[in-house]
């Protein structure tokens, strides 16, 4: 085996900044649908704990990030693999019709559900037609 080109021993004084992770990153499959007063986004992020999910809205970009703990099973080796575990990340551009203060995110069973409420003035007002 070649000698590693990066540091392999933990530093004696670990810093408080976020460590970089040597992990594959995948884009989670996402469903987006629109209801009368909100846009709902559901993303499949299996293996992600609800505390390890990050949803950020910066300027017009909504970013989803989920970190996964890949546990190998002690004493057993992988015999057949159809999926690989990795972190999830995906970004979307949101339009002005989304109310930035009213975004809700719920994580359950590996599915992240984000509800983006629309701002009041964008809700469609149905105009009644009066016959003369």
């Amino acid at each position: 085996m070649n000698a590693p080109t990066h540091a392999t021993t933990p530093s004696a004084a670990p810093s408080a900044v976020e460590r970089t992770r040597n992990r594959k990153v995948y884009a989670p499959p996402v469903d987006i649908f629109e209801t009368g007063d909100a846009i709902v986004l559901t993303a499949d992020m299996p293996g992600v704990d609800e505390k390890k999910v990050e949803v950020t809205l910066e300027k017009n970009v909504l970013s989803l990030r989920g970190n996964v703990e890949t546990g190998a099973y002690a004493g057993r080796s992988i015999a057949y693999a159809e999926y690989d575990m990795g972190d999830f990340e995906r970004s979307f551009t949101v339009s002005d019709e989304v109310d930035r203060d009213r975004i809700e995110a719920v994580m359950k069973n590996g599915v992240l559900r984000i509800t983006l409420h629309k701002t009041e003035r964008v809700k469609i007002r149905k105009i009644d037609i009066n016959t003369e």
Binding site: Y26, A27, P28, P29, V30, D31, I32, F33, E34, T35, G36, I39, V40, T42, D44, M45, P46, G47, V48, D49, A72, Y73, G75, R76, S77, I78, A79, Y80, A81, E82, Y83, K108, N109, G110, V111
Partner: protein, 147 residues
């Protein structure tokens, strides 16, 4: 790449088909959606030890009560359904990448499973099934007797 296939039959094969096929292949290469549509759902990984094994499946958003896991001999069957979002009148999808509906996967394991000792847990969208090898199936060491 266009040369021999196009000219082999003495005339021009439809060049647009070749170009479309190339476009599709390149799109697939660059697409970063994880699971192609033809793959089986849910994807499973199988971890094996000497006397036991763990089958893990990526199954986010499933109802654990609705999952059916059965073991017969060395065959493990996982079936269930993932419910689609029920949209009301006037609601519409902008994008639909996740798949829904009923699924069933049958896996053949390299050993007979002890049906009494199967344990399944469903956490964070991952279904984990711990299986152990049946007693009758464990290899027996045969001592060689001195002649």
């Amino acid at each position: 790449m266009f040369g021999p296939t196009l000219w082999r039959f003495g005339g021009l094969l439809d060049p647009f088909r070749e170009i479309q096929r190339l476009q599709r292949d390149v799109n697939r290469l660059f697409s970063d959606v994880r699971h192609p549509a033809e793959a089986e759902f849910p994807p499973v990984n199988i971890w094996l030890g000497d006397a036991d094994g763990v089958v893990t499946a990526e199954l986010p958003g499933a109802d654990p009560q609705g999952l059916d896991i059965s073991v017969v001999g060395d065959i493990l069957t996982i079936s269930g359904a993932r419910e689609a979002e029920q949209l009301k009148e006037g609601e519409a999808y902008h994008r639909q990448e996740r798949n829904f509906g009923a699924f069933k996967r049958t896996l053949k394991l390299p050993f007979q499973v002890d049906a009494n000792k199967v344990k399944a847990t469903y956490e964070r969208g991952i279904l984990e099934i711990a299986l152990s090898r049946a007693e009758e199936d464990k290899p027996r060491k045969i001592a060689i007797q001195a002649a």
